[in-house]
């Protein structure tokens, strides 16, 4: 009898195991882990990202998101992206600034997203066409617009009051800006306005769109910097700095600092900074107004922010990446996102939905100006071709030269446009 026990025991064990496999549920598949790269620092949406990841993972236990902050904003992220692509270890999803999107779309390997229009039509409903168009290049969809911002005119009501102007009636046109600006300068001695001067041409494009021009021709062969509307707008900017001396010529950080410390009355910069402005303004309540118009011309601004692009090459990762994107743009996701950053939701209707973002917008008065500008948002044109980023730099340099004022804007812009057009054709 003892002889039989061992083999019997093992036979029983084997039977149990076999039965167990049939009866017990299949063990959960290994979660797919994907990397998500973003620029959201702890004070600019960082906590929102953490919250989004937690919420998403609770709903999708089979996907794990490793979120990584990249310093240096969109340019810094792009640099890290490039080396990681070279090492064949890119993130699955990354935020690509609008001004860099054409370059990424044309020069970095990524997933083209048109196929999702058929496989996931629900996702695309509710996103206005002018917003969705921001991710289109050469007729194809390369990225999903995610962070959407507009420039707004922040202003210091105390300086307005001190100049005897009505802080509830901020300037609505550039003529008004100059008129009120002169008064502010005379009565308070402070500079009147600062238009942001970062290492990009967002505001420059806003001015061009606003004055009726196009930063890039329809056929994509000529930049619009030497068109009449562009020259007029940039000359106006130059005059404000050099002639009437109501505008400051400062680097971006310096300009913001000066505004927050009460040395400049109006500051044209991104709505993304609204929380920073609100918290740091010294001795005044920051207010915002839409970007000024050019006379009777309609309001137009270049849209800032980013698209989400998928760089994963593994199908499981791509699938997970798409799920993540769907969540980020979903009403729940977008609500957390907008509240944390001040970026506008791509699904514009959420802003007025009391279940989602209406409460936020109601108690964030600075956002109103951005919301009002939203319908007039034009693309932040990024330049196609392998020299697209150099073109951007050429135009930034042109702006720097214009503001220094040693030559009139027309000469500078014509030269820059000629250089840019040559680069476009490469």
């Amino acid at each position: 009898m003892a002889q039989l026990r061992k083999p019997l025991f093992y036979a029983a064990l084997a039977l149990l195991l076999a039965l167990g496999r049939l009866l017990l549920p299949a063990s959960a598949a290994e979660p797919v882990t994907i990397e998500y790269w973003h620029i959201n620092s702890p004070t600019f949406g960082g906590p929102a990202v953490t919250e989004l990841v937690k919420l998403f993972e609770s709903r999708h236990p089979d996907i794990k998101i490793v979120e990584k902050f990249q310093p240096g904003v969109y340019t810094g992220l792009m640099q890290q992206l490039q080396v990681s692509l070279a090492a064949k270890r890119p993130p699955a999803v990354a935020q690509i600034g609008f001004n860099l999107t054409a370059y990424a779309a044309g020069q970095f390997p990524h997933v083209v997203l048109d196929k999702y229009r058929e496989s996931d039509p629900e996702f695309f409903k509710g996103i206005p066409d002018n917003i969705m168009a921001l991710g289109l290049f050469g007729g194809k969809l390369h990225g999903i617009p995610f962070g959407v911002s507009t420039p707004v005119m922040y202003y210091n009501p105390e300086l307005f009051k001190a100049a005897g102007l009505d802080p509830d009636q901020p300037p609505q046109t550039w003529d008004e800006v100059q008129r009120q600006g002169q008064i502010i300068k005379q009565k308070t001695g402070k500079l009147a306005v600062y238009l942001q001067q970062p290492n990009d041409e967002w505001i420059d494009q806003t001015l061009i769109w606003g004055n009726g021009g196009r930063p890039l021709s329809e056929d994509g062969k000529r930049v619009g910097w030497d068109s009449a509307p562009a020259i007029e707008a940039m000359q106006m900017w130059q005059d404000m700095v050099q002639k009437s001396k109501i505008a400051a010529n400062l680097t971006w950080e310096e300009g913001i600092q000066a505004f927050l410390s009460g040395h400049i009355a109006m500051c044209l910069t991104t709505i993304g900074r609204q929380e920073h402005m609100r918290k740091n303004a010294n001795g005044f309540d920051v207010r915002s107004a839409p970007v000024p118009r050019f006379g009777g011309k309609p309001l137009a601004t270049a849209t800032g922010g980013n698209v989400l692009m998928i760089f994963a090459s593994d199908p499981a990762q791509e699938k997970a990446a798409w799920e993540w994107i769907r969540f980020l743009l979903s009403p729940d996701g977008a609500t957390i996102w907008t509240r944390g950053t001040g970026y506008l939701p791509p699904r514009a209707a959420l802003a007025n939905d009391p279940r989602y973002l209406k409460p936020f917008f109601d108690q964030a008065p600075l956002m109103k100006a951005a919301l009002d500008t939203f319908p007039y948002a034009k693309p932040w044109v990024s330049f196609p071709g392998s020299r697209g980023l150099e073109i951007t730099k050429t135009l930034i340099k042109a702006r720097e030269e214009v503001l220094e004022g040693k030559r009139p804007a027309e000469a500078i812009l014509k030269e820059a446009a000629a250089q840019a057009n040559t680069l476009l054709s490469r």
Partner: protein
């Protein structure tokens, strides 16, 4: 003093201050020596020279490291570079900066080190720590701080200049002053290093020399010219060479943080240019051409300096 073998007999001799010790074979002694060189050599080969060679190879392409199209362009990158305004301005700026850096971080620290020796030992330590302190923070933080110092409207620098009745420029936005802002930050951050080196050099000069000269009635100025300077010559050479080579590289971070080469390339320099071409435009091939060219220029210039200086410096005794 050396453990090298004089020529002659078939066996190897170690000549050490006169004493002779025999080793069995030349190759064994040399093999051992190469073993000692091996770690540094291996690291240098893998992490510096292989990239340099790879980079030189890349300089003949138009590529961004990532896209599937990689176009061979021969010498075109070099031709474009030499003709580009950015490159010319970068060279000019770097040259000017190098002169300024030399004067301010080679000359000034020397003077400061001499001055420090004229006070009591307790004060000496205080001054030395204070003067070295900027070197201890990171360059990025230094730039962040100086961003506030440079503010044209209410920065400390312009406030002080205004008090003195001097013109107060827009440091970072003016094409005349931008490069000097960068030089200023770099000088502030790096001069402490050479200061320490000079201090040590000065301490090595025996006090007796000065005493003897004083007995002979020499003045301060004569002491400086005839004793201090000559005996410091090797130190000065070391400082000059390292400042010349490392100084332009130190300009990079301030340029990146404060001006990004602007306004309109006015503050571009060779350190930043390579970065701009490779990391802002992603034209890796073009950037490699710039880097290779710049490396060769520095190599040649440094070699010339070194050879010239070696000839002119006579070491005492």
């Amino acid at each position: 003093m050396s453990l090298a073998a004089p020529a002659g007999s078939g066996s190897i001799a170690l000549a050490v201050g006169g004493a002779r010790v025999r080793l069995r074979r030349r190759w064994r002694a040399n093999a051992v020596a190469y073993l000692y060189l091996a770690p540094a050599a291996a690291l240098t080969a893998v992490f510096v020279y292989w990239p340099l060679v790879a980079s030189a190879a890349l300089s003949f392409y138009d590529w961004n490291l990532v896209s599937p199209d990689r176009v061979a362009v021969g010498w075109q990158n070099y031709r474009d570079l030499v003709q580009s305004r950015a490159f010319r301005l970068s060279l000019v700026n770097t040259g000017q900066a190098a002169v300024a850096l030399t004067v301010l971080t080679v000359l000034a620290p020397l003077i400061l080190a001499v001055l420090v020796l004229q006070v009591t030992p307790r004060w000496r330590n205080v001054y030395r720590v204070v003067l070295f302190s900027p070197t201890v923070i990171s360059m990025a933080i230094a730039c962040a701080i100086w961003l506030w110092m440079f503010h044209p409207l209410y920065g400390v620098l312009n406030a002080a200049l205004g008090l003195a009745g001097l013109p107060a420029p827009a440091w970072l936005s003016s094409s005349d002053w931008a490069i000097w802002s960068i030089v200023l930050v770099t000088v502030w951050k790096t001069f402490g290093f050479n200061f320490v080196i000079y201090t040590a050099g000065l301490l090595a000069i025996p006090a007796e020399l000065y005493q003897a000269a004083r007995v002979d009635g020499a003045s301060d100025a004569q002491l400086f010219r005839h004793i201090t300077l000559p005996l410091l010559a090797p130190t000065t050479l070391f400082v000059l060479l390292t400042t010349f080579v490392l100084g332009p590289q130190n300009l990079f971070i301030p340029t990146q943080i404060l001006t990004q080469g602007g306004p309109n390339e006015a503050s571009n320099n060779v350190g930043y240019l390579v970065y701009q071409l490779g990391f802002e435009y992603f034209r890796v091939g073009y950037a490699s051409a710039a880097a290779t060219l710049i490396f060769l220029v520095f190599l040649v210039l440094t070699a010339i300096q070194f050879l010239l200086a070696e000839r002119r410096i006579h070491y005492g005794g």
